[in-house]
Subunit: 422 residues, 2 copies
Amino acid sequence: MNDGSASPHRPPRTDLTQITEAVAAADADAFVAVGDRFDDDLRYLTRAAGSDRASALVVTPSEDAGGRAVYCVPSALRERAERRFVEAARDRDGGFHDSISREVRTDRAGDHAGERATGVVRDLIGDAGGDGTALVPASIPHDAAVYLERAGNELASTDAVATARSLKTDAEIDRLGRIQRAAVAGVSRARTVLAESAVEGARPTGDDRPDRRPALRWDGSPLTAERLRRAVNVALAAEGVGDAGDTAIGVGGSATSHRRAGTTDIRPGETVVVGVSPRGPDGYHGDLTRTFVVDGDGGWERRASVAVEAAREAALAEVEPGTPVATVGGEAAAELAAYGFDPNPEPGEAGATGEPVRGVGLSRCEAPSGGTELRPGHVIAVEPGVRDPTVGRVRLGDLVVVTDDGYEPLAEHPLGIAPEPR
Amino acid sequence: MNDGSASPHRPPRTDLTQITEAVAAADADAFVAVGDRFDDDLRYLTRAAGSDRASALVVTPSEDAGGRAVYCVPSALRERAERRFVEAARDRDGGFHDSISREVRTDRAGDHAGERATGVVRDLIGDAGGDGTALVPASIPHDAAVYLERAGNELASTDAVATARSLKTDAEIDRLGRIQRAAVAGVSRARTVLAESAVEGARPTGDDRPDRRPALRWDGSPLTAERLRRAVNVALAAEGVGDAGDTAIGVGGSATSHRRAGTTDIRPGETVVVGVSPRGPDGYHGDLTRTFVVDGDGGWERRASVAVEAAREAALAEVEPGTPVATVGGEAAAELAAYGFDPNPEPGEAGATGEPVRGVGLSRCEAPSGGTELRPGHVIAVEPGVRDPTVGRVRLGDLVVVTDDGYEPLAEHPLGIAPEPR
């Protein structure tokens, strides 16, 4: 999986022969992708971050060489596209590492990206192509698809990009490890803030239910979920990574709909789920979740924590090549049930998607999933959790990379629910 | 433009009659949108942040009431969707503010969102619809469009959502003002860091060209573009907003491709363009750009700064209802030319898109643009700039809201290039 681009100063490289081979296997003429800066397929294929305006990529096998790739971008993107799509893909001798030649085009930049892609397809496959077939990701924008079809191209959808993205190279695993270490810094900051928090300057209410106790105070004022979220995001920013809008602080068991998220005071004995999924400069996501309780009473949250730790262990023990993704999540659920917890009390409690196991990379949620068998190079989040709406919730989430005979965690953070100072 | 939801604790409200009227005007039966959490049309229409899995929205006029809107989400999204799409759209009496009834569906959550939307269209328009017409945004995912077409629906594209989004309500302007004030805090932090930086502990090289001078030092070590970026992002995080991956620090005139972005030392006399476009909790973007020079020699950067300030003034003087967006940018360009600068030295130098004037809202780049005439409620970024690759670049960017007789800035930050301490 060494792709020769482990240097942090250049983007990981994408082997576009994965695409030309899919084109050949489907007896198609070209692969076409169209999307804006939120399109992670294009980001993977081009290694450029894209633009608010749609760009297009056309890849074709060619007889005389490995193939050709043309990236049509808005003018504003030319320099970055040249640098990241073309120059970063060159070997020292100036050739392209995968023998697919790359070029950036900014002509007809005012036209729709689908129209530009159609022109490039015509240009590259010419008469040889005739009424050819273009492989496209299934969710290509409809207007782009219509441009291609009107020009006589048959469209066939492909999951070649999703599959390629799911199998991480060494350089990608390096980036995922870096961002996951930043995620550790973010969660550690939450742990420290909670460890530094105490009940002071407030009289007990005489009611010992957690949500009636006086709030924790930190740095001179009540500790709210929003203050904790900001502290985490400041720590992430100091690491040089963005929170990607995905730092979530879940207090207690009730849904945030019933307890206004930002202004919720955090009280002793309440479960505090801290989930972060920062994004690094090359676009890769981390994913780490821990649960803390300040001054817990050793009741439900202790039992839940033991069960979730056991579920995590059981799930991770299944992680190896050949195991279907769903089996890993199933192991976690079975273990939670064995401990007497409802393994699926609320669809979607487990992080971004409701699934306790999912692929992570340029997207926070990508392949592999479901029945797909794990392969070396898959990077997955394993994230079991339980929730009792009247008491609390506990969740533990980690990123691991599948190896030849098991897995390796991408970074480590203690599991305990008592927030120890750093 | 008061929509009764100016409270910061609830999302701005979207008047879905803008959609039912478009459906009626096109003699169509329903409006359908499909997208994931990066789809800002869906975010606008539903006020929910979406999910990594695609969701679908179907809106139909109805004879007995104003209309119906059904939001099909993954199970994981139900609580948030109910809260933000349904509950936040109710008036005190429990009715919907725009007389469009709203519901969230999580049935068939395993099916493709396009398939679910197709089922809802059949359900809502029934036999009355027959082989109906569905209005869709032009860039609806192709696979979703195919589901709709195969079920007998004709598709027609609409820009009703883009138009509705471009006309901001009071509550939306309130959110944009908040996030723009956070943007001011971010740029102010950069200004402070630069004001605190100095040349010390380093001997002059004897060569007075800016890029040969000793680097600035801040807080004990050389000030790099990456350190400045982190300081800005820490300030944004402390304000409770995310940098959205869009904080850009441009040092000098040469492209970052030639001077490795993150590790570039900042030197006295070099132009430093600081551009931020943070995103707030309701999804709205700020947009602010300033240029600083530490210890400038009063040469090119002073002349450029005078020209760009004049261009900014000239452009803003054109901002009023009835003026085409392109005219505002044209005024800036004419003024730069009058000062002897190439108004378009490098396509795309102006921020996100290469256009000196563009709409900003849930997307960093949205309507209005080009020949569209300004209307009250449009929020636009006005961002003139110049660049000489051998010397430096200067850019000033602000967000303003179009009013009945001109414009109001959404927040203010000084224009000067000498970084004064706060």
